[in-house]
């Protein structure tokens, strides 16, 4: 995209001048959810906000956001509509976008209260038949979250408590409901995507134990471990290359941010 090449040239000029007030300063435009902690929010408190800020600083650019709830139509209405240029967190190879090299690899985890001693790790643990297990549910195209599928495959549905994947968007952290339920003891354990589990566990009243779900995948089609990349428009090879370079050089800084947010990571993601 010629516009972006122009911006890259402008960014170079901007960094040489070392002045953010230069009127040619580059702008990096990020598409993000305004209410999706721990990933992002409008107050820029999420770890994706922090990594975006690191990216902007690294490139000597100013950061701008286009906010849109990450529901159906998010990519279409933001990235594809040209309103912004980067989505900070998508699974590697996410088909509607061109994805950067992965910058972390995380996993679904079992979250349980330490004082209850549930300490689950395996989806084949026989105690899953008796315990109340929280799991996020969606209802599109017969697809569902990988843990919801995995539990159903084992016939574990009667003691499963479903949490709508969107949570209650009128609350400041819609995704917290499932971990809150573990904290309160409403469920004995929950299967939660690692970054959300790690972040909300830090704020829980009771110490929570997080253990990666094993096996790591029920089948090639049903993994619990995902590489996470940044996404750009399919034709945007230049920006992708720039992101790849950033991720390679600033790995340690990115890792520090992920540590701050308690994001559980699995090796081999890069």
């Amino acid at each position: 995209m010629s516009r972006l090449r122009g911006l890259a040239a402008a960014a170079l000029a901007g960094s040489l001048l070392g002045s953010a007030s230069c009127r040619d300063v580059r702008v990096i435009r990020v598409c993000a959810d305004p209410n999706n902690l721990p990933f992002s929010n409008e107050a820029r408190e999420g770890f994706e906000n922090r990594i975006a800020a690191l990216l902007a600083a690294d490139r000597g650019a100013r950061l701008e956001y286009t906010w849109w709830a990450q529901r159906r139509g998010f990519v279409r209405n933001t990235l594809q509509a040209g309103a912004c240029d980067v989505v900070m967190g998508v699974p590697s190879g996410f088909e509607p976008t061109r994805t950067s090299r992965p910058y972390y690899r995380s996993t679904y985890v079992f979250a349980a209260r330490r004082d209850r001693g549930a300490r689950l790790a395996s989806l084949d643990d026989p105690r899953l038949r008796e315990l109340r297990i929280g799991v996020q549910m969606i209802g599109d195209d017969f697809a569902n979250t990988p843990p919801a599928h995995a539990l159903a495959r084992r016939g574990l549905v009667r003691n499963v408590v479903g949490f709508p994947v969107y949570g209650d968007y009128s609350r400041p952290a819609p995704l917290s409901a499932i971990v809150d339920a573990v904290d309160r003891g409403d469920v004995d354990a929950a299967v939660v995507w690692g970054p959300a589990a790690g972040y909300f566990a830090k704020a829980a009243q009771h110490p929570l134990e997080l253990t990666p779900v094993s096996p790591q995948g029920d089948s090639p089609a049903l993994p619990f471990v995902f590489d996470i990349s940044m996404g750009v428009r399919r034709g945007d090879a230049g920006l992708q290359a720039e992101l790849d370079d950033f991720i390679g050089r600033r790995r340690a800084d990115i890792d520090r941010i992920l540590d701050d947010y308690g994001v559980p990571r699995i090796e081999g993601g890069r």
Partner: protein, 607 residues
């Protein structure tokens, strides 16, 4: 009112209609004083609810436009709504005013039919929250408003029911009902019965819990709410609940036919149509599919989703329920309209409720009891073998059931069903039901890897394609007594508009590539067609203008679930775009473009 009700029932019995309205219900020439929808529905000069009348026949008793003269139909006037989402609403005509509600942002326009070109009288913008677009599963449609008691009632996508003064457009009350933060929205047209405005929620794809709510028409306060899942007290099931089949009897089946607490996020929304029989004093409406789609997550019948409720309007208490798709496997929402008529079945006059279901069967039910009198496929069906007439249960075909990790091919009908929301009509003159519908099959894989960062980047595994014959749409004229088609018309694209049938024996419908067509209701012979600016997925209506002429009105503006590929500008190279429609309608973008326009036709056009 009793006389009006009798007139409707007489019409249903197939007696010849006196098409000149009784003096008490003549067109109001500009006044908006008549109020009772039970009375107004019998006046063929007006069109005060989307389905025309409580029986939901969408039959106009007007007969100026006939099979002999319809070829001279021309445009009388038009109006651009300025919106590009799918236009599914029916225009309303009350006295000499027409009302139209648009898709999001749900603007209501009022037109003065007594003046040349029908200038705008007023418009009302409810300013719905933009975020509500994010919870609309299938385009940001609205299915219309309803008139009663001097007010226009309609729903906004962000979940409010609003009453406007019909003369001025000023709001009388606004009641927030659905919570977009929980994935709820509202797209259906309300119905007003005995001073109660009946509305339901949308959002079965978002882990919501379905409900029908009755509001006081005067104040907007909630009179009752009946959930589609959960304990009997929430579903308003009490001692007078007497379903016909054993499987529907028992305590708290809305909980016990679900695993654990899955009923709390179990769908069963109410986004379709409501009918009403004043004589039995029963409302009839359908409940949508259970959630989540994946049936492995919800063993059991999943009551009370994917079926029909009969309820008492005053209290909401349920009288009977019939489940068309127990433990729904295919997103076969049970929201399709219920058309009421009195038919001779096996030589006996029966009060029936008719339903062309998503699952491909045309049901004739006894509307007093919910007993199935007949259930026959009205298109190519291979996923069920009809209904066990003893138990009332759908007989499923095991090989076509979804299985984890397996691509099950050629399931017919596909998820949108043999027929979706698009309403059929019934002519008491021909005795035929006119069904606009699809001819689609699907390949279905139930296991798709979804990465969920708390929110779905939706993976998709459903691909729709044309059924046998290669045509994706059909209009079927169905004889509900013999349970056989009288004739069919094959259409290139799914027929996603409603049908309208008139006393002139003319049937009207629109196509997704923009043709508005008139055919002979007896033979299916095409008599007239007009190419509109965009594909048609709206509901045609007919009325008598202040000048005494018969008019036909319809909204063009392609979109909806089927047409989102155009209205939302999806990529047709992605076969799974738009929940599987991308592949089935990849060529729709070559045939039409988006844009809402109201078209009004009369013999000789705008002369």
């Amino acid at each position: 009112m009793a006389a009006a009700a009798a007139a409707v029932l007489a019409a249903c019995q197939g007696q010849t209609l006196d098409t000149s309205p009784p003096a008490s219900v003549r067109p109001l020439n500009g006044s908006l004083t008549a109020s009772d929808p039970a009375q107004l529905q019998t006046d063929d000069g007006q069109w005060v609810m989307p389905a025309k009348n409580y029986s939901s026949t969408r039959f106009s008793g007007l007969n100026q436009i006939t099979t002999a003269n319809v070829s001279r139909l021309g445009v009388a006037w038009t109006f651009s709504t300025g919106m590009v989402a799918g236009h599914e609403a029916a225009p309303l005509v009350v006295g000499s005013t027409m009302f139209v509600v648009t898709p999001f942002p749900n603007i209501v326009y009022a037109f003065d039919l007594s003046r040349p070109g029908a200038p705008l009288k007023w418009q009302y913008d409810p300013k719905p929250l933009g975020a509500s677009k994010g919870v609309a599963c299938c385009d940001t449609v609205n299915r219309g408003a309803v008139y009663a008691d001097g007010a226009i009632f309609f729903n906004t996508l962000d979940g409010r029911t609003i009453a406007l003064d019909a003369a001025t457009g000023q709001p009388r009350w606004i009641t927030p009902l659905a919570d977009i933060n929980k994935g709820e929205s509202m797209t259906m047209a309300p119905l007003v019965v005995k001073g109660k405005v009946l509305v339901g929620n949308s959002g079965g794809e978002f882990g919501v819990r379905g409900w029908l709510t009755a509001l006081d028409a005067g104040s907007g306060s909630i009179a009752w709410r009946a959930y589609s899942t959960g304990p009997d007290k929430d579903v308003l099931i009490g001692p007078s609940f007497t379903p016909h089949y054993d499987g529907d009897r028992g305590k708290d089946l809305g909980m016990t036919t679900w695993p654990g607490e899955a009923w709390r996020t179990g769908g069963g929304t109410v986004w379709g149509w409501i009918s009403y029989d004043p004589e039995l004093n029963l409302l009839y409406y359908g409940t949508a599919n259970p959630g989540p789609w994946n049936p492995d997550q919800r063993p059991g019948d999943n009551k009370w989703t994917a079926g029909i409720f009969a309820r008492v309007p005053e209290t909401g208490e349920a009288r009977w329920f019939y489940q068309t798709s127990p433990h729904d496997l295919f997103d076969h929402d049970g929201v399709n309209e219920v058309v009421l008529a009195n038919l001779a079945v096996d030589g006996q006059q029966r009060k029936v409720a008719m339903r062309a279901d998503r699952n491909g069967l045309f049901y004739v039910l006894d509307r007093a009891t919910g007993e199935v009198l007949s259930a026959a496929p009205f298109g190519y069906v291979n996923s069920n073998r009809g209904v066990d007439m003893k138990t009332g249960r759908l007989i499923e075909v095991k090989e076509k059931a979804p299985r984890l990790g397996v691509v099950v091919r050629d399931i017919c009908p596909a998820a949108p069903g043999m027929k979706d929301w698009q309403p059929m009509s019934f002519s008491p003159q021909t005795g035929l039901v006119y069904i606009p519908h699809q001819n689609l099959c699907e390949d279905l894989e139930t296991m798709t890897t979804s990465y969920i960062a708390g929110t779905p980047f939706v993976g998709a595994s459903v691909v729709y394609k044309a059924g046998p014959g290669g045509n994706r749409g059909v209009v079927t004229a169905w004889n509900p007594v013999s349970a056989q088609p009288a004739w069919t018309i094959k259409e290139h694209f799914p027929v996603w508009s409603g049908t309208l049938v008139t006393a002139g024996d003319v049937l009207f419908y629109g196509t997704m590539d923009g043709w508005f067509k008139a055919v002979n209701a007896k033979s299916g012979e095409e008599l007239w067609r007009f190419k509109c600016g965009s594909g048609i997925i709206g509901q045609p209506v007919s009325y008598r203008g202040p000048d005494g002429r018969q008019y036909v009105a319809v909204l063009a503006g392609v979109g909806g679930w089927a047409g989102a590929i155009v209205s939302a500008d999806l990529d047709p190279r992605d076969a799974t775009a738009g929940n599987g429609w991308g592949g089935a309608l990849a060529d729709l973008k070559d045939a039409t473009t988006r844009g809402g326009m109201l078209y009004v036709f009369a013999i000789g056009g705008g002369q």
